[in-house]
């Protein structure tokens, strides 16, 4: 397995280089001048030239790219054009907020989707299964922004139970309870939508496994329903969820852009939007590379976990 891991990591290097080059070219091929974007309409020509020089935009594109790579290899992610602070510091500040939001939603989704999916499969076509199915399809169909606004209108505006956005009440010292109150709605949006999808996956997978011969054999041998379900069937049925988990991990870095925007949640998703719209190139590049690296790692982890869970899988 060690060799497998090393080989995958080595394979990831050209992949990441390719990603960085493509994103770099896309940013630079986009119409408009990045320095003008950063400084705004009223910028004088002198200031634009100064910023272009500072950003290295007056160099040929390949020189700019190699300069950027050189900095990254030295661990220097650069300085944000807009905030004039280290990109690393900005990302580091925001990462925990995104991680808690997305991590929380992934964990909760797993905890909720698992029993729902199992129940739905075991009680196929029952009233309970139909209810779960309808709710799941609603959850899959509803756009996240619409659900977010609806929850805000109901819980914040009508009932005044929860705040409309932010991570804490400004002007008061930090309180965990206050922070959790702010977390509830964005977490609910992400969890509901994710749970809806995952429960469907699990239900399908479970149904497939339950129809296999070895399950029938286990029942014939006299094992209890619980033992058949949780010791034999679930372990095989959960494989797609592992894949989904692996694919969801990058979200903890990439963030939920729409949800973070609506709830004014100061995470990496919101930063991505701001930096992209305002052409804060160092931040955009850092975010994209971070996402790319995490995706590569997450896929590797998913594959490794497959090898652990399923003895039939051997990693070469």
């Amino acid at each position: 397995m060690g060799r497998y891991v090393i080989r995958r990591l080595v394979q990831a290097i050209p992949l990441l280089i390719g990603i960085s080059l493509i994103v770099f070219l896309m940013i630079h091929l986009a119409p408009g001048d990045a320095a003008e974007f950063a400084l705004g309409e009223r910028a004088s020509q002198t200031e634009i030239i100064r910023l272009r020089h500072y950003l290295g935009l007056d160099l040929p594109w390949y020189q700019q790219y190699f300069h950027l790579m050189g900095h990254w290899l030295r661990g220097d992610l650069g300085i944000s054009v807009l905030q004039q602070r280290s990109v690393f510091t900005i990302l580091w500040e925001r990462l925990p907020r995104t991680a808690e939001l997305l991590g929380g939603s992934i964990l909760l989704s797993l905890l909720i989707a698992l029993p729902i999916g199992v129940f739905s499969a075991v009680r196929q076509y029952s009233f309970g299964d139909n209810v779960v199915t309808v709710i799941s399809f609603l959850g899959i169909s509803i756009p996240s922004f619409w659900l977010a606004i609806l929850l805000i209108l109901f819980f914040s505006v009508d009932l005044h139970w929860l705040p409309t956005g932010g991570t804490q009440t400004i002007g008061r010292s930090f309180s965990l309870l206050d922070h959790l109150k702010h977390l509830i709605l964005p977490l609910a949006v992400l969890t509901l939508i994710r749970t809806a999808g995952w429960s469907r996956y699990l239900r399908s997978s479970m149904l497939e496994v339950l129809s296999l011969d070895y399950v029938r054999t286990a029942r014939a041998k006299g094992l209890t329903g619980r033992e058949v379900l949780f010791r034999h069937a679930l372990r095989n049925a959960i494989m797609p969820i592992i894949t989904l988990l692996g694919l969801s991990l990058p979200d903890m870095v990439g963030g939920a852009i729409i949800t973070e925007q609506i709830f004014n949640w100061n995470g990496l998703g919101q930063l991505t939007v701001t930096a992209t719209v305002r052409r804060d190139i160092p931040v955009v590049m850092a975010l994209v590379m971070l996402s790319g690296a995490v995706i590569v790692l997450a896929n590797l982890l998913a594959d490794l976990w497959y090898g652990v869970v399923d003895p039939r899988v051997t990693l070469h």
């Binding site: 408009g32 004088s44 922004f145 606004i149 409309t164 956005g165 804490q168 002007g171």
Partner: protein, 636 residues
């Protein structure tokens, strides 16, 4: 259905059956369906912007426009203060509610207040915290760059105050000023009772430092107001400062002297090293001002980004009535509305007319003051893409198009009456607006006839064609980021032009892409825009014929409008220090732009501000609606 002539084509019949876009927009807005979507799509640049060039104005002995008057330090608990503050004066200065479309007294549970200098009964009482939100960029500070504006209005004071309604200059940190006979030297006497937040006295050195920074900081957003300050200010003594300008100036008092005064001691060392206030450690070192609020925390990384203030108990103009003040950055309009409905903010500005529908079931004050802003569509007389360049160059055509715009229609559908749609030009200053001028009333038939007289008639398909028989098509460009809903006006105008047989294509662009097309490519016919102004006229770059960007770097007259009479007047205006004389010159200039039409004029918008019902003392301020927060108090 009305019988139609036999010659009507199938296209024309179909066009009649279509619901007009403006009516559809209006009815959807009334149903509140479009509002949230448009609000989500909207954004708007809320930063204060003005023309890129300016002269300077000298206030020399003019009547109500020049004489320094003592500022009103106490909150208005009685009748409006100031000689120019009477409703009659306000009406004369053009500040009354929209003529022909009166604003209602109530909308749902909202109480609408339109009077200047609103008064309140009761005595102010101290309360705990005032919270305000706005879409402003709090990610970086630089008082000269003004990338956001509200934070500086809270901690700083200007040398000269601009009256909230009339925009007349008034003493503030400067208790009085005098101007030399040649109009080039200004001597200011400063108040001696003003202290910085750290307790040190405010002196002329601070004023000198601030003006130099505004002039010389490469990031300065207002350097254009200081080109005549070629010599550094002269500190005569601790309470006296003199500015010797290289020429007479039309807007020195109103624009340059209204900028915030910063503490020299705070920034001097940094300035001497960097010659800029950019990159100063603003998160570690709070801004030190003379203003009503002392900055206690600057948290751009918080969620939402915010700045926190404590009351300045020794504020010379009167201490605020809240112990603490929190200002938060909330960008999305739907987030702002929900924050308002949730009670998370005590004031909300700006609010659009469609958003009023969403909030009208909650009790509050709705203020409706005139904004120092205008909306228009600049005309390009030298489009690189127009097959019929002579079309827009024909004055009769431009006048016909102006008559063919249903201004009252969009005033009601889009603004619900909260607009002065008949006002013309870009001189949206109450002290200077020529109230005898207004846009023509809508008359489609007359517009069609005028176009026909100019040689442009409809063909069998209903399209307006030129001499060559080809349809006339116009291209309009507009930014996707506007404070006022000019994009909706563009749609309305598109519909009006369609009735005339004129096709108008509207391209909505990102600001930088738009700037590129507007100032470098010139492949457009109409540039729909709105702009917020400073108090003094400094817009000449948009009108002067030698400011064509095709020949002058940073030129703003992208439409290449040329009018020798206007050029001559502008040269006089920017050098006329006497605001009374300047007003007369501006009046003549406005008559020219109303006749020759370098742009199609869409009027002046009105700002809408929501204030919680139990918050009293709010004074609308045409310069910046959040400037007078220290006058607010909470009743009960």
């Amino acid at each position: 259905m009305t019988p139609q002539p036999e010659t009507e084509s199938a296209e024309q019949r179909f066009a009649r059956m279509l619901i007009s876009r403006r009516r559809l927009l209006g009815s959807l807005m009334a149903a509140g369906l479009v509002g949230p979507v448009l609000a989500a799509c909207g954004g708007g640049n809320n930063n204060k912007k003005a023309a890129t060039t300016g002269g300077a104005a000298n206030n020399k002995g003019a009547s109500n426009l020049a004489t320094p008057q003592a500022p009103s330090a106490a909150p208005n608990t009685g009748a409006g203060a100031g000689a120019t503050g009477t409703p009659a004066a306000a009406a004369a200065s053009g500040g009354s509610p929209a003529a022909g479309v009166a604003a209602p007294a109530t909308i749902g549970k909202l109480t609408v207040r339109t009077e200047p200098y609103p008064s309140y009964t009761g005595s102010p009482v101290d309360s705990d915290t005032l919270t305000i939100i706005r879409s402003e960029d709090l990610s970086a500070f630089n008082p000269t760059a003004l990338n956001s504006y509200s934070p500086y209005t809270f901690v700083y004071d200007p040398l000269v105050w601009i009256d909230e309604y009339t925009l007349d200059p008034k003493p503030w940190l400067a208790s009085s000023w005098s101007i030399s006979p040649d109009g080039k030297s200004y001597t200011f006497k400063l108040r001696s009772d003003v202290k910085w937040h750290d307790g040190t006295p405010f002196t002329a050195d601070d004023v000198a430092f601030s003006f130099i920074a505004y002039r010389d900081d490469p990031d300065s957003a207002v350097a254009r107001f200081f080109p005549l300050m070629q010599k550094d200010p002269v500190v005569v003594d601790a309470q006296t400062i003199r500015f010797d300008l290289s020429d007479t100036s039309g807007d020195w008092i109103l624009n340059a002297c209204n900028q915030f005064i910063m503490q020299k001691a705070q920034f001097n060392d940094f300035w001497n090293q960097k010659k800029s206030l950019k990159d100063y450690p603003y998160t570690d070192k709070m801004l030190i001002g003379t203003g009503a609020w002392k900055q206690t925390k600057y948290a751009p990384g918080d969620s939402p980004p915010n700045i926190q203030y404590a009351r300045n108990d020794s504020y010379w103009a009167g201490k605020p009535h809240f112990q603490k003040f929190i200002f938060q950055q909330v960008d999305k309009t739907e987030a702002q509305i929900t924050a308002w409905l949730n009670g998370s903010t005590d004031l909300l500005w700006p609010v659009t007319a469609t958003e009023v529908d969403q909030v009208k079931n909650q009790e509050a004050w709705l203020y409706d003051p005139p904004a120092v802003a205008f909306m228009n569509a600049w005309i390009n007389f030298k489009s690189t893409k127009q097959d019929h360049p002579e079309f827009m160059q024909n004055k009769q055509v431009r006048q016909a198009l102006s008559i063919g715009i249903d201004r009252k229609g969009y005033a009601q559908a889009i603004f619900k009456g909260f607009v002065d749609e008949q006002k013309i030009g870009s001189i949206a200053f109450p002290w200077a607006y020529n109230a005898t001028l207004k846009s023509p009333d809508y008359d489609q038939a007359k517009a069609q006839q005028m176009l026909a007289d100019a040689g442009y008639k409809k063909d069998s398909s209903g399209s307006l064609v030129g001499q060559d028989g080809k349809p006339i098509k116009l291209i309009g460009i507009i930014s996707n980021s506007q404070q006022y809903p000019v994009d909706k006006i563009a749609v309305s105008v598109q519909e009006d032009f369609r009735k005339l047989g004129l096709a108008l294509q509207i391209d909505t662009l990102e600001p930088q892409t738009l700037k590129n097309r507007r100032l470098k490519v010139f492949d457009w016919d109409l540039y729909f825009a709105s702009r917020i102004l400073f108090a003094g006229f400094s817009d000449y770059g948009y009108y002067k014929s030698d400011w064509d960007p095709r020949v002058k770097a940073n030129g703003l007259n992208a439409g290449a409008w040329s009018n020798p009479q206007a050029d001559k007047l502008l040269d006089q205006i920017i050098r006329e220090p006497d605001l009374v004389k300047q007003k007369d010159l501006l009046g003549q200039f406005q008559a020219i732009i109303n006749d020759d039409l370098p742009a199609l004029w869409f009027g002046f918008p009105r700002d809408l501000i929501l204030v919680k019902k139990n918050f009293l003392g709010f004074q609308p301020n045409a310069m910046w609606q959040y400037w007078d927060t220290w006058k607010l108090w909470k009743s009960g």
